[in-house]
Amino acid sequence: MKVFFHALSPTLESLSAVSGSHPSSNSSRLAVETRRLTRVYKTRRETTTALHDVDLEVEQGELFGVLGPNGAGKTTLIKILVTLLLPTSGEAFVDSLDVVRDYKRLRNRIAMVSGGEQAGYGVLKVREQLWMFSQFYGMDSKAARRRIDELLDRLGLAEAGNKEITSLSSGMRQKMNLVRGLMTDPRVLFLDEPTVALDVGAARDVRSEVQRWMAEDPTRTVILTTHYMQEADELCDRVAIVNRGRIVAEGAPRTLKASVDEDVIVDLQLDPGTPLLDRLRAIEGVGAASVREEDGVDRFSLLLADDAVLPRVMTTVEGAGRRVSGLVRRQPTLEDAFVKLVGRSMTEEEAG
């Protein structure tokens, strides 16, 4: 029966290629491909376009980051790719399978983990819970137990494995959920904000485990969403920056940062006083400006066309009667790239 099944599958593949369910032939090594992917949410009160004509290509073996502020559409994108939600229009393929038409076959090849939620059955022990899911994925029972032990061990949960999950800290629970995603060895693993609300140490454990898991097999792919700039920068091979349902830039973190290389980036610390942001933005040569309050001081980030702009900035600051408590020139970050592309900081975008 198994032989028959295998002999049949190439025919099925070629059939679907003829019927057009396959993406373009040069994309056979693409782990994810979307074409004009659009998703609209309609509620009684409003209509939200969460994704707007998103074109995305992620190659096999990539650790790909989707970076954007709250409400950018990151979770919506993941939900569509894992067959939980249908797109309103456009197409999406994961591991060359159409997420709408081929969703049943696709489910054998993917897994998803969302951070920041307390998923799980309180009465079950960690190992029981994970084993149960391994069975939903059709894993051999013994092999699954071995794999679960190995992964729990690596994430420092070997002892917690025999505890009921209600007795776990939220960080441990999030790690347990990561194990659920990793253990079935999916072709493409989707992680929706896997480190959100984790302390520094736990977040580092999660990141390094994801990297190690990818290194085990170079054809594995991870799509990870985050709104931590630094995480995307350190972890991802490539990043798509999304804002309000659109991809505003895409590339390796280094390339994205290079887009602000020409600019002079200045961090300016001011004691509290009259609002200044709009006046700074109005200065000729100021590419973008953002501000955040920290420890009672305003920290402005400015993208300047060149050094000659700085005196004009200082004149404006003094004119407003604000006192400068610090001034540094620094290397560009992804945040700067975001600010330059969108014109506002992520925090401002989130504030709406």
Partner: protein, 284 residues
């Protein structure tokens, strides 16, 4: 193929264990047994007392007591079946936030749902036997295990089992559309109670409702259970039909339920994905 079936089976087995751990095995089996025993038995006894008060237990009405008790006995199967499917799916979404992960797993979603409800169905089957025993010994219904028409009973119950599961899968998936659908499983089970001929023949219902009830497999199933157990010594809902005719109606009604259930499930499942119901934030 064989491999695929084996994988679905091991997934089913895990879902059964899950249902047992989460829904049935409240922490102490004693409690669980008390619940699956006391509820159906007390329901049967209440009906028996009501019957006695109203009829004075006149000999001529004894077949109606048998009608009542056998109907109630088998009813717990519907009660537990329908409500457990509904409770399971809604709990998995609203309380445990796990439904989306089960949904996108390779295990077929209907198989997951059946597995999740299996332990409750099994305990419901135990309730059926217990109430029948109470009927036989405490109420002297004259049930003789050696005279039961087992082939007819088993055939009728298998068909009913298929219908109830088809209905419960579809109905529970439909409940995903609401944010406040907790408890709807029990309500709909009560509602079906009216149509099923469990405590009174469907012919006493108002015309259109009786007609709808006659399309459902439930009255035919209960009728066959009664006839298989007590033959002519029980009040009959369809005195003009032979056993074969009732069975045929049950087959047709079951086929209709399964077909309709399948079509509706396909539609509901797709709608749930279109509208994002599977991981919707709900009031819990």
């Amino acid at each position: 193929m064989g491999v695929a079936v084996a994988r679905q089976l091991s997934g089913y087995r895990a879902a059964v264990l899950l249902g047992w751990a989460v829904s049935s095995n409240w922490t102490r089996p004693i409690l669980f047994i008390a619940y699956s025993l006391l509820r159906p038995v007390s329901m049967a006894l209440i009906l028996a007392v009501m019957y006695t008060v109203i009829t004075g237990n006149a000999a001529a009405t004894r077949p109606y007591l048998a009608f009542l008790i056998i109907g109630t006995a088998f009813w717990s199967f519907i009660q537990e079946g329908v409500s457990e499917f509904a409770n399971g799916i809604l709990e998995d979404r609203g309380r445990y936030h796990i439904l989306k992960y089960a949904y996108i797993a390779p295990l077929g979603f209907p198989i997951y749902l059946v597995g999740r409800a299996t332990s409750k169905l099994a305990s419901a089957a135990a309730s059926v036997v217990i109430v029948l025993l109470v009927g036989a010994f405490a109420l002297h219904l004259g049930i003789n295990p050696l005279q039961i028409d087992y082939p007819l009973l088993v055939a009728a119950c298998l068909l009913a089992f298929v219908s109830v599961i088809a209905f419960a899968i579809t109905f529970s998936t439909m409940l995903l559309a609401g944010r406040d659908t907790n408890g709807y499983g029990d309500i709909i089970a009560q509602f079906l109670y009216l149509f099923s001929g469990a405590i009174f023949p469907i012919s006493v219902l108002p015309g259109p409702i009786a007609w709808i009830a006659s399309l459902s497999p439930l009255p035919y199933w209960l009728e066959l259970c009664r006839r298989a157990i007590l033959h002519a010594r029980v009040y009959q809902m369809f005195p003009n039909m032979s056993d074969g005719e009732v069975l045929l109606r049950l087959v047709v009604a079951t086929a209709g339920t399964v077909l309709l259930g399948y079509i509706l499930f396909r539609f509901t499942d797709r709608r749930a994905r279109r509208l994002g119901h599977i991981d919707m934030e709900v009031n819990w």
